[in-house]
Amino acid sequence: MDKEMLLDWYRQMVLIRRFEQRSSELYQQGKIGGFLHLYIGQEAIAVGAIAARQEGDHVITAYRDHGHALAVGSDVRRLMAELMGKATGVSKGKGGSMHLADVERRYWGGYAVVGGHLPLAAGIALAEQYKETDNAVLCFFGDGATNIGYFHESLNLSGVWKLPVLWICENNQYGMGTTIERASAVPRMVDKACAYGMEGKQVDGMNVIDVYEATQEALQKIRSGEGPQFLEMLTYRYEGHSMGDPLRYRTKDEVEKWREDDPIGILERHLLEEGLATKDELEEIDNAVEQLVEEAVTFAEESPLPEPEALFEDIYVEA
């Protein structure tokens, strides 16, 4: 693995974590409204998978979408501004935390109805197939989404039409507060892929290198004409489902156990043990990220609110 690439992944994961920690504080201060779903613990998946995409590939995900937005390289300041509902936000303050998008970077956004974006992903992929490109769609969703009709209809359609979609299930063990065992007839999400002609593969979603390699391999299969692919990333969210989650459904011991396999910690150990980076170098990255996030917060706080006229703008493309 290339040292620069690994250091960049480290930077991205630290950025996501710091962004999420600051978002949490700002939410508690009442500066961010609505719902806020933190990605802490799952950083390796967005970073590793998106790093494996080629320029024309698309990304789409569910409402826990800050990490993906940062991993595609969206402007940190405009993401923070969106969380605060400011006119300078990526979605002009009309989407909020759950609806960040950056279409210039082929990031189609976060979708807050569980499973609702899966057929959109199939359609985006259909358009690439129609235009005869070799681009694919990376569609991220949670384990909870595998129980909704959208999942089954979309995977089936992708199988029938051999659409260039990589279905990436981020299995963080819970759909809100309900464990997989209580919600899914099969405990392994990957077992649901075979019904739609996909072999599927389980991946350690806490290890960014594993995520990257599995994604690269799956995208390669898609580009060589093997049809849609399915990856199950095993992971864990350290924080609640959203802010205000009473966390009655799991124990502190369980959370601590997962924290031992922290995605940033794993990469940090790897970098140090392999002599690819020094503690000082990593600290320098940490500090730079800290500064970037603080600048974003300042930018967002100082940004104007949307003008009243914005209320009626963009209802239709053609008035």
């Binding site: 979605s91 002009k92 989407g95 959109l120 690439e128 129609y130 359609l157 029938v160």
Partner: protein
Amino acid sequence: MARITMRQAITDALREEMHRDETVFIMGEEIGVWGGTYAVTRGFYDEFGDKRVRDTPISEMAIGGAAAGAAMNGLRPVAEFMTINFALLALDAIVNHAAKLHYMFGAQMKVPVVYRAPGGSGRQLGATHSHTPDVIFAHFPSLKVVSPGTPYDAKGLLKSAIRSDDPVLFIEHATLYQVRDEVPDDEDYTVPIGVSDVKREGSDVTIVTYAQGLQVSLEAAERLSKEGIEVEVVDLRTLRPLDMGPAIESFKKTFKAVVVEEGHRSYGVGAEVVARLQEEAFDFLDAPIKRVAQLEVPLPYSRELEQMALINPDRVIEAVKEIL
């Protein structure tokens, strides 16, 4: 000009747009090899091939969402729901996704998709297959909802829908497929979305209607005319965005109105039109505005019972005479 059926008008619009624009394609259940359950796309599979004429599995949620996704990424899909009753399964994909994304993501994306949905009652199909749920879809800002009542409008409006950069639900009344009327054959005409049209002039009572209600109202108008009662018939054509201009103008001339729609009376098109008339032309009100609509029952199978619940020219004539 040629006299063609509404079915032919819709077929022609689809075929012409597919020839005009490579990014236009059609998808849906049984639209290809079968030729469409209402035969609207018969011959398309052979003419355009399986890339542009895409049979789908029975998956309304996926049809609604995948068509929107393809539209987001640069294509112009025309997705067909076998009937509008099944489009209810795709309500989330249509109103919560296709119709929300342009606004919600700050105009970063557009979703130029057309959803075609044959609808309508009166064919003895029972309660689940006979809905007229047009107003459910028309409730939401940012979706365009069109439902023509003549072959001319059907062709012109469908062309506008396909060329529109906004998501459009295009509702076709199945009992109107056989209606014949004049349609310009050579001319590449369109009918603008969101513009109502006076279909018959008259000075005694204004009838506001659309789709199958238009044909019912025109028949009633013809019979009333023989009794010396002249009604003006305004065809809304588009439920959203709603153009009330011609209806209000007509009402200011007749001072009386009847709203005719096939759907249920409660929370219906009539409720909306009546509210707008009293808001914008209260001083012109000479009589209660009547609503002729479907009775408040799930539609039964038995022909006699079903017909009792539906609108017909007799009920329209009765309503007109009540307020004369």
